[in-house]
């Protein structure tokens, strides 16, 4: 299975990178994510509940960030395990700042923390995964289309989250953030 795509997010690469390493954010934005915990620096494990038609299952997920080059790029290795089989793979992300008009859809103006919240990030991703078990007998279109749907929903949620964070408090000030964990 292969997936690839890109998405423009309404925050700078640093904010995007940090949000993507924050379990609380991940819990809020990953579709169906019921629990997530950090098990080591850059290693997470969690559970996903997806009520897929005819199937409906709980999956365990393991994700590890590899080759991180904050805030420009990162690789992610992961595994999703459920009763229907296992999906294991790797995805690579690139984050580039895009210069253009301040963001659209009703986003408030300059932030109080002085960050230029008009900055936006182009997130590009490309991933490959191997499907094993009963799931592998389905047309790979199913896993690919589903992955694309979940990625699109996740990135949309991440974007709303980023917009919200930038319009309230600077995300780093409130709670201790695991992204500060030593490299």
């Amino acid at each position: 299975m292969k997936v690839a795509g890109h998405h423009v997010l309404d925050a700078g690469p640093r904010e995007v990178f940090d949000a993507a390493c924050d379990p609380a954010t991940l819990l809020a934005v990953i579709p169906g994510c019921e629990a997530i915990e950090q098990v080591a620096p850059h290693e997470y494990q969690g559970s996903l509940v997806l009520r897929l038609p005819g199937v409906g299952a709980t999956f365990r997920t393991f994700v590890r960030l590899v080759d991180a080059d904050p805030p420009h790029a990162a690789g992610m290795e992961g595994r999703v395990e459920g009763p229907m089989g296992t999906i294991a793979g790797r995805a690579d992300f690139g984050l580039t700042e895009v210069d253009d008009e301040p963001a659209h859809d009703g986003r408030p103006g300059a932030g109080s923390d002085g960050r230029s919240i008009a900055s936006r990030t182009l997130l590009e991703y490309r991933g490959e995964a191997v499907i094993q078990g009963p799931l592998a007998r389905l047309d790979s279109r199913f896993a690919e289309s589903l992955a694309n749907t979940l990625i699109a929903q996740g990135l949309q949620a991440l974007n709303s989250h980023l917009i919200e964070a930038s319009s309230t408090v600077a995300p780093a000030s409130g709670r201790p953030s695991p992204r500060e964990a030593p490299e």
Partner: protein
């Protein structure tokens, strides 16, 4: 077969209660025509299943000039109703007699493409869905209910209980194109509805199936039609717009390229059919 418990609740209240007690690991099925093939194949391996066949949500009733359709109404009942001809036609073109006797209208809204032929007609009719669960009841536009490939806005503790078709204006046509005449997966399904004031189109819906993650509205095509009088130029332009904005995929039935070409052709044919039909009626 790994199922250890199979529940057949006799009322919606029982079904909602079972769902909240057993949580998301309880697989819900209605007619079973999507779920059972996966279970028989060992692709889906549920341990607990709830069947909705006897919850009593299988009534179709006219309401305020529209229609209320219980979620577990069979496709056969939809075919037999006379209130909304496009829905009867959509049911007629879906699956086969035995499958229509089992499959439900609600289940069709969850069916991944190229399935979901009835959903396409419902989308063109601005249908709404009613969702009910332990936290109450809510109503959502069908266009907001289908959120992605195999995903919907249904919350884990909710069931789909009904579909509402409002009293909408306009003429409709429904065209399903497959590789065979009957019982065939769709290459593309097109449902159009056009309301006019005299010659001029005041409102239009162009809904497409089997060319996206779920039933889609071709909004650019709709915009082209509004204000036109369905003259050949406008029809061609709308067909072109629909072909551009659809999101087709490759499968064993057709390539994405072919599906896009067939969107162009069948949106045009659906609109031409509608024009012809109206001309005949007008006489």
């Amino acid at each position: 077969m790994t199922v250890v418990e199979y529940f057949l609740p006799r009322s919606l209240a029982q079904a909602v209660d079972l769902l909240s007690r057993h949580g998301p690991d309880l697989l819900v099925i209605a007619g079973g025509t999507v779920a059972m093939p996966l279970i028989n194949d060992g692709i889906s391996l549920p341990r607990q299943v709830m069947g909705l066949r006897f919850v009593g949500l299988d009534e179709i009733e006219p309401s305020d000039g529209g229609l209320r359709i219980g979620a577990t109404t069979t496709l056969t009942s939809l075919l037999r109703q006379r209130h909304v001809p496009m829905l009867a036609e959509a049911a007629r073109r879906t699956a086969s007699w035995s499958i229509r006797n089992m499959g439900t209208v609600g289940g069709n809204l969850f069916t991944p493409p190229p399935g979901g032929d009835v959903a396409v007609a419902l989308l063109a009719l601005d249908a709404e869905v009613t969702l009910e669960g332990s936290r109450g009841r809510r109503t959502l536009a069908l266009s907001e209910f289908q959120t992605g490939f195999m995903t919907t806005a249904l919350e884990p503790q909710e069931l789909l209980t009904g579909i509402g078709v409002p009293a909408v204006a306009g003429e409709t046509t429904y065209v399903k194109f497959g590789r065979k005449e009957a019982n065939t997966p769709s290459v593309v399904t097109v449902a159009v509805r056009v309301a006019r004031d005299g010659e001029v189109v005041t409102d239009a819906r162009v809904a497409l199936g089997a060319v996206g993650p779920h039933a889609l509205r071709a909004r650019k095509a709709e915009a082209v039609l509004v204000g036109s009088s369905l003259e050949p130029g406008a029809i061609d332009e709308a067909a072109e717009a629909a072909a551009e904005e659809c999101e087709p995929f490759d499968d064993g039935i057709a390539s994405a390229w072919y599906r896009r070409a067939m969107v162009r052709l069948f949106v045009r044919r659906a609109l031409e059919e509608l024009v012809q039909h109206v001309a005949l009626e007008g006489r």
